[in-house]
């Protein structure tokens, strides 16, 4: 769960973290919208924005290495879909433009998630009157993602330690059972959480 560790590191108090989360979120959204509205082929503008983002990243003490690592993870999808435009009238110019714009937007999102804790985003969502059920689902989900991911990992490991016959179908069946078990445990946990919430006066 790299995202979690990235978040923990963002506890450093640079000027970026001191800006209210709503501002950071709005700025990210505005910037992304601006980028996607840019026409194709404006290479200098793209480069300028990229430069600005690098400067912001440095000022916010975000490690470029970690940014590049996360970019590298998601670039293949962007390249793949963008490649379709190679076939169209826009050709190479269109392909490179989409690639540039999409990567810039991704850069912005990575900066946002590295400098903003999800709990702050939840607070912003609450402030803009996001429906209660969605907010509670997001909050509980965020709380238990790591718990469940670890549980799933442990169960998978336990299964693997007792699997000697490594056929693909067997692996699928095992993993499928692990996921099923994960759901069963999650529902039981949900019951206990309900009890804990009631025990503390939830109405």
């Amino acid at each position: 769960m790299n995202a979690a560790h990235t978040e923990a590191r963002s506890l450093s108090r640079t000027w970026m973290q001191r800006l209210p989360a709503s501002l950071r979120l709005a700025a990210a959204f505005a910037l992304i919208t601006a980028v996607i509205l840019l026409p194709a082929g404006h290479w200098r503008v793209y480069a300028a924005i990229a430069g600005a983002l690098v400067v912001i990243a440095a000022a916010a003490r975000v490690s470029m290495l970690s940014v590049l690592k996360r970019l590298a993870l998601l670039e293949p999808i962007i390249i793949g879909v963008a490649a379709l435009s190679l076939l169209g009238p826009a050709g190479l110019r269109g392909f490179l433009s989409i690639l540039a714009k999409s990567s810039l937007c991704l850069f912005v999102m990575i900066l946002l998630s590295t400098t903003t804790r999800f709990t702050e985003i939840l607070r912003v969502l609450r402030a803009i009157h996001t429906p209660w059920l969605l907010l509670t689902t997001l909050t509980l989900m965020y709380r238990y993602i790591f718990v469940l991911a670890e549980e799933g990992h442990r169960m998978r490991r336990a299964r693997l330690s007792r699997t000697f016959n490594r056929g693909r179908w067997r692996t699928w069946k095992n993993l499928g059972t692990v996921i099923a078990q994960l759901f069963v445990r999650s529902s039981e946990r949900a019951e206990r959480i309900y009890a804990a919430m009631c025990a503390r006066g939830w109405k």
Partner: protein, 249 residues
């Protein structure tokens, strides 16, 4: 007036199995009582009755009285302000994304102002030795820290009765020591279900032994713990620490 008064409590699981078979128990205010017994004795089930989580449909007969008030569907919310329950798995209890929010959950239900809530949370985190942990993610805490967050969450509601289910399980020796020191200082009435017989010997002057849903023994914990045949008969054993704490026993 007793803090907790249980009269002839019976409980059956949905599958028909008998969980509690006529439990009667009185606990005066300020006392610390240990609930011991083998697995499956019904300890956790009994604890869930102390704040109205069981039975699922609260009737009028009120077999459990908290400060002389029988627990009914009407007053169960009030009761929960007085009785703080600490569950066995802290991950079930800490359901908010940050420590601050989780500890603040109880006070928020009490509709205190934002400032009062923040103050209370800070105070209570201080008391449990976790100042500055406000923004921490529960997932990154150690077992002992998580338990203390749960305790803080309950203390923030000013509960007069603390009910703890296996508070020292999964703790390393340092965590256990810290928790024991903390519990020792709390003036609330305490009911502790535990397998940790050291904890019982150190902290709880009175012990109640349960097995198969029934009360087997109720008295000074040193007497019960020292009664080797009794302990062995009910899936427990005489703890070695008794030799060190009370060599004459």
């Amino acid at each position: 007036m007793n803090a907790i008064e249980i009269s002839d409590l019976h409980f059956r699981y949905p599958d028909g199995k008998i969980a509690l078979d006529g439990i009667s128990l009185s606990i005066p205010e300020g006392h610390t009582v240990a609930l011991i017994g083998p697995n499956g004795a019904g300890k956790s089930t009994l604890l869930l009755h102390l704040n109205g989580l069981l039975p699922e449909k609260l009737g009028q007969d009120g077999r459990v009285k908290i400060f002389d008030r029988p627990i009914t569907a009407k007053n169960v919310d009030e009761i929960r302000r007085d009785v703080g329950l600490l569950f066995q798995d802290p991950d079930d209890q800490i359901f908010c994304p940050t420590v601050f929010e989780d500890v603040a959950f109880g006070p928020q239900q009490l509709a205190l102002g934002d400032q009062a809530i923040a103050q209370r949370v800070t105070e209570v985190l201080d008391r449990v030795g976790l100042s500055g942990f406000d923004d921490r993610l529960p997932h990154h805490l150690s077992g002992g820290e998580k338990r203390r967050v749960c305790l803080a969450g309950v203390l923030a509601c000013d509960c007069r009765i603390l009910v703890l289910d296996e508070p020292t399980s999964d703790l390393d020796p340092r965590g256990k020591r810290q928790l024991k020191d903390l519990l020792r200082q709390l003036p609330a009435t305490k009911v502790i279900a535990t397998h940790d017989l050291e904890l019982v010997a150190e902290l709880c002057p009175r012990a109640v032994l349960m097995d198969a849903g029934r009360l087997i023994a109720d008295g000074p914990s040193l007497h019960i713990l020292a009664d080797e045949p009794l302990m062995l008969q009910h899936g427990l054993e005489k703890p070695h620490i008794l030799q060190h704490l009370h060599p004459h026993v």
